[in-house]
Amino acid sequence: MTTTHRHSEAPGFTCENCGRTMLFAPYCAACDTVYPERRGLNLFDRIGLPRTFFLDPDLLDRREVEISRQVHPDRFVGREGRADLAVSFQASLNEALRVLREPFARAEYLLSLAPEYASELRDSRALPDGFLAAQLELREELDGGASEARVQEIRRRARRDLQEVEARVGELFRLMESGEGDPRALRAEVRLLLNQVKYFQNVQRAARGESDPRATP
C-alpha cells in the first residue's frame, strides 16, 4: 500500500514496477505497466490532480497534453493488445477533463464524492421559493415575442445570474476546503445553486436564438 500512497501536496502515483511518478493512474507509460484496479479511482486521482474546486485551467490543459502523449491510441499503432486499451485510457482521460474543466460539472462531481450524496443530494430537485414561477414567466415572455431590447436584457441577466451562481459556489467550496462551517450544510447549499444552473442556461440559449450558419450541416 505504501507504494501507491497519494501524496497530499504532490498528487500522482509511483509505479510499483519502475518507481517513476505516474500522472495517469491506470497506466505507466515508462515501463508499460497497466493498473486495472485503478480504473475506479475518482477523477482527480485518475489524472494526478489535487481534489479541489480550485483547479488551474492551465494545469488541466497541461495534463491533457502530458497524459495524451503517454496514452493516446496513435502511440500504439500496430501494437497488438494495446490499441483497444489505449482507446479506453484516452477516453477515461477525456472524461476526467470534460467533467473537471467545467466549473458546474466539477462542483456536481465534488458533491458526488460526499458521503451523503446518494441519500440527500443526488435526487434533490430543490429550488428556492418562487424560482420556478419566475423562470416560467421569463420563458413565456421570450416565446411570446418580447422586444429585441427586452430579449437582450433577459440574456444579460441570465448571464449575470450564472456568474453569480459560480461565484457563490466557489465561495462555498472555499469555506468547505478551509474547514470552516458545516460541510454538509454547505453542500446542501451548493446543491440548491446547481439546481438553478440549467434554468439560467436554458433562458440564455432561448434568448440568444443563435443558429449555426453552416449551409448544409
Binding site: D61, E64, V65, S68, R69, H72, P73, D74, R75, V77, G78, V87, S88, Q90, A91, S92, N94, E95, L97, R98, D212, P213, R214, A215, T216, P217
Partner: protein
C-alpha cells in the same frame, strides 16, 4: 552510408498520406528530405476524383474519366465526396439536377449511384479513386502501398468518416488514421514544433469553404471548432466570371445555352482561366465564339471588376470565420497563425482580406493544393516510424444520442467532446414483460428524434420478462480516435449479457466489406429492373437529342462514314427504346456513344483549344495553373 543503404533496402512499402478531395485526390510520402507529393510516370500529381464506367462495364478513373464527363455525363461520377455517408434526404439539393443518377438504397436510404445499369455506393466510387492513387504510387515507386492516412474535412460526421475508412479498406488499404484536413495542413507547416499557438486554417477549395480553429500546445493539436459552407468555392467564382461574360446576351440565347452542355463547359473553363489570369495580372481578354448557341464574346475583364463580382462571396467566408472563433471562445486577436489551404486562396482578394481580418500575414509558403496531402504524409510517417512528434486530438463535430420513449432524444455525447470518448446511460422498459428494446442511434443538435439524423438501430433481445421500469438497460457509446462510433447495450438486472444485434444503417459491416471485395463490383438489383428500364429510356432520348445536335453543329468536321455511323446508331437506339429489352437498349446506347466518339473528340478539342495555349493537355484536364500568361482566351 552503409546505414542509409540498409534502410533503403529494408523499405518494403510506401506509407502514404492521401488527400481524398471532392474534385482531385493526391498522395504524398515522407522522403529523407521531407514530405513530397508523389507524381506518376507522366509527371501528374492529381488523380481527378472522377469515375466513369466504360462500355465493357469496367471502371475508368482519373483523367481518363474526366475526359468522358463531357461526352457521357450520365456515366461519369464527379464530386462523390459530397455523398459519403449520406442519405438522399441529406443532400440538400435536387438529385435530378445531377448529371448522373442517384437513388436511395439500403434501409437508411443511403445514396447509391447508378452508372451503366449498376448501383454503386459512394464508398465504392471513392475506393476506385483510392485504388488509382495506390496504383500510380506503386507503379512509380515499385513498392506496395498497404497503409495510408486519409484526410477528411473537420466537420465530417461519424457516418462520413466511417464511409471514408470503408473506401480505404475497399481499396485494399489499412487506414492508419482518418485525419482532419486543417490539422494536416498545420502539420505540413511544421507548426507542431511551436510551443503554443492558436491556428486558424482557412480552406477555400473548388466547391467548399471550411474554417477550423486549432489549439496547439507542445506538439498536441486540438480542433477547437469548425464552421464553413459546403456550397461555396472557386466554382462559384468561375460562375461569377461567366455572368460577367454573358452580360448583354439576350434571354433566348441564354436559354439555348442551357441545352448545350459543351458550350456551358467552355464558358466555365473560360471563366476559370480568366479568374486565374487575374490573380497574376490586372486585366485579361476573353474571346469566344459559341457557334452552336449563336453567342460571340469579346470582353476585357479587369481585376477590380472580378473583385466586385466575387467580393460578397469572399466576405461570406468571414461570417463563418467569426462563427468558428465564437464557438472556440476566441477573438481574432487571439489567433497566432493563419494557414491558407485550397486553390482559391491564390486569389489576391482572398489573401488581402484574410490579412486585413486577422491583422497578420497568412502562411502561403506551401502550395495550397498540396498542403493537406503533405501533412497527411507527415502523420503517416509518424504513426509508422515510431517517432511521434505531433499528436492530434480531435473532437466529435455533432452530438450523439438515442431515441427515448415518446420520440424525444437523449444525448449521450455532446458536440465538441474530445475523442476517443465513452458515455453510457441507463434506460428501462415502458411495457410489462417486454423482452426486447430497440436502440435508435441519433445524431445532431435538435431535441426531437424526428429532427435528428438516424445513424442506425439495433434491438437488444433476451431481456427476462419483468414489469415495466424494472429492467436496467445500459447503453454505451464509444468513439475511437478516428471519430468512429460503436454502440452496445446490455441489460444489467438479469446479470446475463443479452444478445446484441447491431445493424448499422450507415457505413458497412466487416462482412459487407468482405462480400464487396470478393464480389467485386457485382450487385444484386432485381428490384430496380423495371425502374431502370424507364430511366434508360429517358437516357436514350437524351443521348439521341445530343447526338442530333452534335451532328447538326459539328457534323461537318468529321468524316462521312462517321456521320453515317451516328445516324445508324441513332436509329438503333430509337428502335430499342420502343421495346422492353433493357440489355438491348443499353447496348444500343453504348453503340451510339461509341459512334459519336469522333465528333465528341472534335468537340472536346475545340473546348480545350480555349485554354490549351502554353499548357499541356494534362494541365488543362487537371484544371491547374502552370503560370501561363493567359491574356487572351479564344475559342474556335
Amino acid at each position: 552510408m552503409a546505414i542509409e543503404l540498409g534502410t533503403v533496402s529494408e523499405r518494403k512499402e510506401v506509407v502514404v498520406g492521401i488527400d481524398l478531395g471532392t474534385t482531385h485526390s493526391l498522395a504524398a510520402h515522407v522522403r529523407w528530405d521531407g514530405p513530397r507529393v508523389i507524381r506518376d510516370r507522366q509527371g501528374r500529381k492529381w488523380v481527378p476524383s472522377v469515375v466513369a464506367i466504360d462500355e465493357g462495364g469496367s471502371p475508368v478513373v482519373g483523367q481518363d474519366a474526366q475526359a468522358r464527363a463531357l461526352t457521357n455525363p450520365r456515366g461519369t461520377v464527379t464530386s462523390v465526396k459530397r455523398f459519403m455517408g449520406k442519405g438522399i434526404e441529406d443532400l440538400g439539393e435536387d438529385p435530378s439536377r445531377l448529371p448522373y443518377r442517384v437513388v436511395s438504397g439500403g434501409e437508411a436510404g443511403l445514396v447509391r449511384i447508378e452508372i451503366g445499369g449498376q448501383l454503386y455506393t459512394p464508398q465504392e466510387i471513392s475506393a476506385l479513386v483510392l485504388k488509382e492513387v495506390k496504383r500510380r504510387v506503386e507503379q512509380v515507386s515499385g513498392l506496395p502501398v498497404r497503409r495510408a492516412v486519409i484526410t477528411v474535412p473537420a466537420y465530417f460526421d461519424d457516418a462520413q468518416r466511417q464511409a471514408t475508412r470503408d473506401a480505404g479498406r475497399l481499396a485494399g488499404l489499412e487506414v492508419l488514421r482518418i485525419v482532419n484536413e486543417p490539422t494536416a495542413a498545420a502539420l505540413a507547416y511544421g507548426l507542431h514544433r511551436k510551443q503554443k499557438s492558436v491556428i486558424v486554417v482557412y480552406d477555400l477549395g473548388g466547391g467548399t469553404f471550411d474554417v477550423s480553429v486549432l489549439r496547439l500546445s507542445e506538439g498536441v493539436f486540438k480542433v477547437l471548432s469548425t464552421a464553413g459552407n459546403t456550397r461555396l468555392g472557386g466554382d462559384d467564382f468561375d460562375y461569377a466570371v461567366v455572368d460577367l461574360l454573358l452580360e448583354g446576351v439576350d434571354a433566348p440565347r441564354r436559354a439555348a445555352l442551357g441545352e448545350d452542355p459543351l458550350a456551358l463547359h467552355a464558358l466555365k473553363v473560360a471563366g476559370e482561366r480568366a479568374k486565374i489570369a487575374l490573380s497574376a495580372e490586372e486585366s485579361t481578354r476573353v474571346q469566344m465564339d459559341l457557334a452552336g448557341s449563336g453567342i460571340a464574346i469579346d470582353r476585357e475583364v479587369d481585376r477590380a471588376t472580378l473583385e466586385a463580382a466575387i467580393g460578397p462571396l469572399v466576405e461570406d467566408t468571414f461570417r463563418h470565420v467569426r462563427f468558428a472563433l465564437n464557438d472556440a471562445d476566441l477573438d481574432v486577436g487571439d489567433v497566432d497563425e493563419v494557414v491558407l489551404v485550397g486553390g482559391s486562396t491564390r486569389i489576391p482578394l482572398v489573401r488581402r482580406r484574410v490579412e486585413e481580418v486577422f491583422g497578420k500575414k497568412p502562411h502561403v509558403e506551401i502550395d495550397p493544393d498540396e498542403v493537406v496531402a503533405l501533412g497527411a504524409a507527415v502523420q503517416a510517417e509518424q504513426l509508422t516510424a515510431g517517432r511521434q512528434e505531433a499528436l492530434l486530438l480531435d473532437v466529435t463535430p455533432l452530438s450523439l444520442g438515442i431515441e427515448t420513449y415518446g420520440g424525444g432524444a437523449s444525448k449521450l455525447i455532446h458536440r465538441n467532446t474530445s475523442i476517443p470518448c465513452r458515455a453510457s446511460e441507463g434506460f428501462t422498459t415502458s411495457v410489462d414483460h417486454q423482452t426486447s428494446v430497440e436502440v435508435h442511434i441519433l445524431q445532431g443538435e435538435r431535441e426531437m428524434a424526428r429532427d435528428l439524423r438516424s445513424l442506425g438501430r439495433f434491438r437488444l433481445r433476451g431481456i427476462p420478462p419483468m414489469s415495466a421500469g424494472l429492467p436496467r438497460v445500459l447503453v454505451e457509446f464509444a468513439i475511437d480516435a478516428n471519430g468512429i462510433l460503436k454502440v452496445s447495450a446490455r441489460e444489467m438486472v438479469s446479470g446475463a449479457l443479452a444478445s446484441i444485434e447491431v445493424r448499422p444503417s450507415y457505413g458497412l459491416t466487416d462482412t459487407e466489406v468482405e462480400a464487396m471485395i470478393s464480389a467485386g463490383m457485382e450487385h444484386a438489383q432485381e428490384d430496380f429492373e423495371a425502374h431502370m428500364l424507364a430511366d434508360l429510356k429517358v437516357e436514350a432520348a437524351t443521348v439521341v437529342r445530343y447526338a442530333r445536335k452534335a451532328l447538326r453543329d459539328h457534323g461537318a468536321r468529321v468524316a462521312d462514314e462517321a456521320r453515317a455511323g451516328i445516324e445508324a446508331a441513332i436509329a438503333g437506339v430509337e428502335e430499342a427504346a420502343a421495346g422492353e429489352d433493357r440489355g438491348r437498349l443499353h447496348d444500343a446506347i453504348d453503340a451510339l456513344n461509341q459512334a459519336t466518339h469522333p465528333i465528341a473528340e472534335e468537340m472536346m478539342n475545340e473546348v480545350l483549344r480555349v485554354t490549351v495555349t502554353g499548357r499541356t493537355v494534362d494541365d488543362v484536364l487537371e484544371g491547374k495553373d502552370s503560370g501561363m500568361k493567359a491574356r487572351d482566351v479564344t475559342l474556335g
